[in-house]
């Protein structure tokens, strides 16, 4: 393990450290943005699947059913590969931005689209479980007050549904942060890809002209620690929320 000094000197190198930290920023931004957009699109899908039960609107229901089932039962990498070929990328992504080359920016857009399409299928099912948890009486109460369907959704059902699924949505961010590492297969943008890139050039930075197993441990160890700290603190938060809710449910039975 005499090579460990060389490996450690790599992650003390400010240029490499900045390179990796930029990857962390991209991982976080891509994941959070993907989840937020997926919540919008997923909610639409969930409502179509749950409430379009009459007449011609049933077509919408079946479109949403097919969409959700197809995306939930095929791998994310599959959609990344497909988006690389078939997803058009807008002109404004076709230039150097965010410290990435124009090629990487186009890849970023396409891969992020794949991540959004995939995640929204999962989130649609989460939202649906929230919608199902809202009692039928809430709809009847809304109707009796003269609300129409859109108003019932916006003011009565969705707020309750989202309140019920906040913990699940937060843990979906964990999953998406992990899923975003699949972008490493096609471009060097986020944490995973950057770690791998540094490893493949480690012989130039560790001062020994060769890549050693200690480099693997130090570099991937650092990446693992970063992923772990982010995801673990999120999952601790999720558990705290759930525990508080269980307590509330015990204290005020039937309050929900």
């Amino acid at each position: 393990m005499e090579n460990i000094q060389g490996s450690l000197s790599m992650i003390k190198n400010p240029a490499i450290l900045v390179f990796i930290l930029k990857g962390v920023a991209f991982t976080l931004i891509i994941s959070v943005a993907a989840v937020l957009i997926s919540i919008l699109w997923g909610s639409v899908l969930a409502m179509l699947r749950n409430y379009c039960n009459s007449g011609m609107t049933r077509v919408l229901k079946w479109i949403s059913v097919v969409y959700i089932e197809v995306f939930r039962n095929t791998p994310l990498l599959f959609w990344i590969f497909i988006c690389l070929v078939f997803c058009p990328s807008p002109a404004f992504m076709d230039r150097p931005m965010f410290g990435l080359s124009s090629v990487n920016n186009k890849l970023l857009f396409k891969a992020a689209m794949a991540l959004i399409l995939y995640t929204s299928g999962v989130i649609a099912e989460i939202v649906r479980s929230g919608l199902n948890s809202v009692a039928d009486g809430q709809f009847e109460a809304g109707h009796s007050q003269g609300f129409h369907m859109v108003q019932i959704m916006c003011y009565i059902v969705l707020p309750q549904a989202f309140r019920a699924i906040i913990p699940t949505l937060l843990s979906q961010i964990i999953t998406t942060i992990k899923d975003s590492s699949f972008l490493a297969n096609v471009a060097v943008i986020e944490l995973m890809a950057r770690t791998k890139q540094i490893l493949s050039a480690a012989n130039r930075y560790n001062g020994s002209n060769a890549i050693h197993v200690s480099d693997v441990f130090i570099l991937f160890g650092l990446a693992a620690v970063i992923y772990f700290v982010i995801n673990f603190s999120l999952s601790v938060t999720v558990r705290k929320i759930q525990k508080r809710r269980e307590k509330q449910a015990v204290v005020r039975p039937g309050a929900d």
Partner: protein
């Protein structure tokens, strides 16, 4: 050439149909071996988590938290490169199913823990008072009651594992998705994007859809029954 209605592209896919079958075989093989590893680890760590002994519980917690909170891709790359740069030639398959099995094992462990914890405490005490040993208590009393809680999420975990076989691509694997990708980008075979991806997606869907549908139908049936019992 990449059009979905192009007869030539479909013809090419048909010509190279063996590629897809080999990929499907590799994916299923990797998934099957990984499943055995995941089940073994899941049972061991799930039982440790419900053993009531602090040390065992802590070990199980560390295992689950570490592997659930880091990406499978990172774990796989770590294993692969650590073996490769320490002078071993690991091949693709062994690191593939090991990483996949250990990663999925963490989820299995949580599923099994939740299943065992769903059984009321009195059942454990009753079994103990009747003189059941640890193993016969688990097999005859606890397992039959927890299996209905365990199976649906376990099926979902297996679906995710089958989808995750695609992560082998990063170390140059020969699973279904990797072979499809090298088929559509290959020098001699390339171009038939739409038909090849369609076929690959259909194959994945045919494996995963029945499993995940079964899981959710099961779950709904259990929920409905529980609601009836409460009322």
């Amino acid at each position: 050439m990449s059009g979905i209605f192009s007869a030539r592209a479909w013809n090419k896919v048909w010509l190279y149909r063996k590629t897809f079958l080999v990929g499907l075989g590799n994916t299923l093989e990797t998934a099957a071996i990984a499943l055995v590893i995941a089940l073994a680890l899941g049972i061991i760590f799930g039982l440790m988590a419900t053993s009531g002994k602090k040390v065992l519980k802590a070990i199980s917690r560390v295992y689950v938290e570490f592997f659930q909170n880091t990406p499978i891709l990172l774990q796989l790359c770590f294993l692969y490169y650590a073996l490769a740069f320490s002078g071993h030639s690991p091949g693709i398959l062994v690191p593939g199913f090991t990483a996949l099995g250990v990663y999925t094992g963490a989820y299995m462990s949580e599923v099994i823990r939740a299943g065992i914890e769903s059984v009321p405490k009195g059942q454990f005490e009753a079994a103990q008072s009747q003189g059941f040993g640890y193993i016969s208590r688990m097999v005859h009393i606890i397992l039959p009651q927890s299996i209905k809680v365990i199976l649906p999420p376990m099926a979902n975990t297996i679906v995710n594992m089958i989808k995750n076989t695609s992560c082998l691509y990063i170390i140059g694997g020969a699973d279904l998705l990797s072979l499809t990708y090298s088929f559509v980008t290959g020098e001699n075979t390339g171009g038939a994007y739409a038909p090849a991806y369609l076929l690959c997606g259909v194959l994945f869907f045919l494996i995963c859809f029945p499993l995940s549908t079964l899981a959710s139908a099961w779950e709904n049936a259990i929920k409905k029954r529980d609601r009836k019992e409460v009322v």
